[in-house]
């Protein structure tokens, strides 16, 4: 037995059953190196430890798939000059910077500028420890214990304790606060179930077993920055009091904000002297400002609005694989979609490759009519990809007694590429004799309505297109859209098998179990097709070629602490 093996054995003795299971999976070649790193970090192993084990235990291939096209690797690091001020273009936040109510990328960017999370969900969907040094579940995944980093100070000077973490999460899950974080934590963590037994430990008692809980309290849930226990979240915008490597110097609503290096930071001090956020209402002026050398980093741009950057040699495009997608729902309880063959026929009429090329310039992954994006490690990619098949679609319609086709209204709203997608659906459906009348109802407010059944075009329409943002794990998509009691179940899909499988998936603690449940869910949804998902598109950022180490995550978070200029 060599030294390395002895060290591995010693490490494994101290690890939990779940952690050892993941190490076994990797050693047996069942998961790739990347998946091993990701899963290892999710269950609480530190990145250095995971890296050591990855090297020592061999296992699967690298599995590196992030980035693409003209992009650079989202996590590549380069040597840079120290200091400098980075100018960042950010979409205008739509609310005041209150951690409870921020609900968009602009606001998320502000929160993450000074605030820190228990962990940071990076572009590879790995969790990097931040204010939590480690975390681990109990045997059945209903309880998660987080060890809180010691010696951390807020910018105001107060010392971080477990009580700050507890208070932060209690306030996020309190229904009275109507926190935006409830979209991830609702039904997972109830008020009163977060405990701080000592200054360095926080225990979350969950409503049900949840293998992805650490992700739900990471930066992936952008409202979950840890703030001082005695600070009213509504007042956070006055001071931006956080623990991050930068502190707020000035903030002007609707204009921008400036941040400078925080010298009391617990970790490696930030490389830049600071950075400046400039708010933009629209994407166009943001792109022009980048080309006019007025900003160095565009936090997010779209393919349709940022074509100029995709071909600009002075733009370094950072592409991060994401789970952002559009859902074309078909009401399973209303004609003409009560017969699943009709739903399958519509899904089979779609030319997904053409959509990815035409709408996204290739910067998207094909969707397979389930929310399991290729970016998720738990996605079972052996499930056959649904492709356009007009003959099969016509046959299905004929079998369903609709050989002459039918007419249906598709309702959606005027935003992003959605109207173009609606027209493509109409065009493809016409090839199988289906007439889709597209009705664009106005803006998102009109489409979503009160977001409850009976008062929402989104949830009441027979057919519609809905936009879904990135989630680092598919839990919310699954529980809200595909379960019988799902509050976003626009297809009115009620299937007890799906309910059971989704519950199994959410409770699964190891990747094997998750993937086994995922495979069954994917196959079931492909068969039932309550919803068609034609693509998952990449999250795009742009940096000046001389700006290196700017990190983007698909949630709208960015990390400039190691960024700098090469010249």
């Amino acid at each position: 037995m060599d030294d390395t093996q002895r060290r591995v054995d010693a490490i494994r003795k101290d690890r939990s059953e779940l952690e050892n299971h993941i190490i076994d999976e990797y050693s047996a070649g069942k998961i790739t190196r990347r998946e091993f790193v990701r899963r290892g970090t999710v269950v609480g192993m530190s990145i250095p430890l995971v890296s050591f084990l990855a090297a020592a235990c061999g296992g699967g291939g690298s599995g590196e798939t992030t980035g693409g096209g003209t992009s650079t690797s989202p996590t590549a690091t380069s040597a840079v000059q120290s200091g400098g001020n980075i100018r960042v273009a950010l979409i205008q936040p739509s609310t005041e910077p209150n951690p409870l109510i921020v609900k968009d990328e602009g606001g998320a960017g502000l929160l993450g500028s000074t605030g820190e999370f228990l962990s940071f969900s990076n572009a590879k969907l790995e969790l990097e420890p931040r204010l939590a040094e480690s975390w681990s579940p109990n045997a059945d995944g209903t309880e998660w214990t987080f060890k809180i980093r010691q010696g951390v100070t807020f910018h105001s000077g107060a010392t971080l304790t477990a009580n700050d973490v507890k208070t932060t999460f209690e306030s996020l899950v309190d229904p009275k606060n109507a926190s935006n974080a409830l979209s991830a934590l609702g039904g997972v963590l109830s008020p009163g179930n977060t405990e701080a037994p000592d200054d360095a430990t926080v225990v979350f008692h969950l409503d049900a077993a949840n293998g992805n809980f650490p992700t739900l309290v990471s930066s992936a849930n952008y409202n979950a920055i840890i703030i001082p226990a005695d600070l009213d979240p509504a007042d956070w915008g006055k001071t931006f009091d956080g623990t991050g490597p930068f502190r707020m110097e000035s903030f002007t609503p609707k204009v921008g904000a400036k941040f400078v290096r925080y010298d009391g930071y617990w970790g490696e001090k930030a490389n830049p002297d600071g950075f400046e956020l400039k708010f933009y209402d629209e994407e166009g002026p943001m792109i022009v400002a980048f080309q006019g050398d007025e900003v160095d980093f565009v936090e997010h741009f779209s393919v349709s609005g940022g074509q100029a950057l995709l071909s600009d040699p002075n733009a370094q495009v950072i592409a991060v694989k994401a789970s952002t997608h559009r859902q074309i729902h078909m009401r399973t309880d209303k004609d003409p979609f009560t017969d699943k063959r009709v739903r399958q026929a519509v899904a089979l009429s779609l030319d997904r490759n053409a959509m990815v090329d035409g709408l996204w310039d290739g910067k998207a992954d094909l969707g397979n009519d389930s929310p399991f994006a290729p970016a998720y490690p738990s996605t079972d990619t052996s499930v056959p990809q649904r492709q356009q098949n007009i003959d099969q679609a016509k046959q299905l319609l004929s079998d369903a007694g609709m050989a002459d086709g039918f007419t249906v209204e598709l309702q959606t709203w005027n935003g992003f590429e959605i109207p173009d997608l609606a027209q493509l659906v109409k065009q493809y459906a016409s090839e199988i004799g289906v007439t889709v009348n597209v009705k664009i109802v106005g803006d998102d407010t009109a489409y979503y309505g009160d977001a409850v059944f009976g008062k929402s075009i989104w949830l009441d329409s027979v057919m519609g297109i809905t936009d879904y943002g990135h989630r680092p794990v598919p839990n919310v998509f699954l529980s809200s859209v595909y379960t019988s009691k799902g509050t976003w179940n626009a297809a009115h899909f009620k299937n007890s098998q799906a309910d059971d499988l989704i519950a199994q998936y959410i409770a699964a603690l190891d990747l094997d179990s998750q993937r086994a449940a995922a495979k069954q869910i994917e196959e079931l949804l492909l068969d039932e097709t309550p919803v068609s998902i034609p693509y998952f598109y990449n999250f795009l950022s742009a940096a000046k070629p001389t700006l290196k180490n700017a990190v983007s995550a698909a949630t709208g978070q960015f990390d400039l602490s190691k960024a700098g200029y090469t010249s």
Partner: protein, 317 residues
């Protein structure tokens, strides 16, 4: 003159009151729900109801109006629903920015358009006239976002002479600020030149054809003197009215230009307030723009009456 002013001020007060009613009702008639807008499309309905209750937006509209107008009369413009800041803190900087841009644009366009209009009138039906009138009109009909984008491309990106954003860095001196404001101001000059110069031209031609001008010429006065003393004084009357009516547009209507040049002025503020259903901010912003417009109109009336005594005598009767 005093009675004239009092009459105008009285009318302005009535207009403002009606404006406040229309603005408030209009803002509240916008489709959508304040709390829903704030919490997002996917927020739970109970949370939405609770926030509406907290914000007071679930009260009857007359109660809301009464609370708003009484606050306004006490100098309280209210609190922005989106930003949870006093509305005055948001309107103050935006109004300052808008005034800066409007003033810069006026300083460039007014003399230019008046000179252009007068020259066109003096050279009526000749090549110079054609160039000024047809050229001005052609530029005026080009949508302002097209003009703005062209200027950004040429002077901002290709030649690199001017910044593509209008908001100068904090602490910039006046020259730097003017440099940043140059392209949006030039866009406005191009948009307004054709209109103002055409009005000036028409007024000048009318004055040139008037009996008093012919009499002055027949008296043997030099042409320059006739133009300065008799023609300009009368020909500028409609021009002043037109300039005054443009004030409201320049202060509160530049949504496209302010967005294009990422300039935080009143136009963008009003637009985003309407979009976010931020009633207090929207209503106060529109009211402020209304006041600016009324003041400009009042000043125009005064200038009008000074240039043409018949108007103030008629108003005083």
């Amino acid at each position: 003159m005093g009675r004239f002013l009092l009459t105008r001020l009285g009318l302005a007060a009535i207009t403002l009151f009606l404006l406040s009613v229309f603005v408030f009702l209009g803002a509240n008639l916008l489709p959508g729900n304040v709390a829903r807008r704030k919490l997002g499309n996917l927020a739970d309905q109970s949370a939405v109801d609770q926030l509406n209750h907290q914000l007071g937006t679930d009260k009857p509209i007359l109660v809301q109006y009464w609370n708003w107008i009484t606050g306004l009369l006490h100098g309280d413009l209210g609190t922005s629903l989106s930003y949870q800041l006093p509305v005055s803190q948001l309107i103050g900087p935006a109004l300052t920015n808008s005034v800066k841009l409007a003033a810069f644009a006026f300083v460039m366009v007014v003399p230019l358009a008046i000179v252009g209009g007068v020259v066109a009138a003096l050279k009526r039906d000749r090549l110079t006239d054609r160039i000024i009138t047809v050229g001005g009109l052609s530029l005026a009909v080009v949508p302002e976002f097209v003009t703005g984008i062209m200027l950004i491309l040429v002077f901002g990106l290709w030649l690199g002479l001017f910044p593509v954003s209008a908001n100068a860095p904090d602490g910039s001196d006046i020259l730097t600020q003017l440099k940043y404001l140059f392209l949006p101001a030039l866009t406005l000059v191009i948009v307004l030149f054709g209109y103002i110069s055409r009005i000036t031209r028409a007024g000048t031609i009318e004055a040139l054809d008037a009996d008093y001008t012919r009499t002055a010429m027949l008296k043997g006065l030099p042409r320059r003197t006739v133009v300065r003393r008799h023609v300009l004084r009368n020909s500028l009357l409609p021009t002043i009215a037109v300039i005054a009516t443009q004030t409201g547009y320049l202060i509160g209507g530049l949504v496209v230009i302010e967005t294009l040049f990422n300039y935080p002025g009143m136009g963008r503020l009003i637009f985003t307030a309407a979009n976010d259903k931020d009633f207090p901010l929207l209503a106060a912003s529109v009211l402020i723009v209304g006041i600016v417009f009324l003041v400009a109109t009042l000043l125009a009336d005064i200038a009008y009456s000074l240039l043409n005594p018949r108007i103030r005598y008629a108003a005083a009767e």
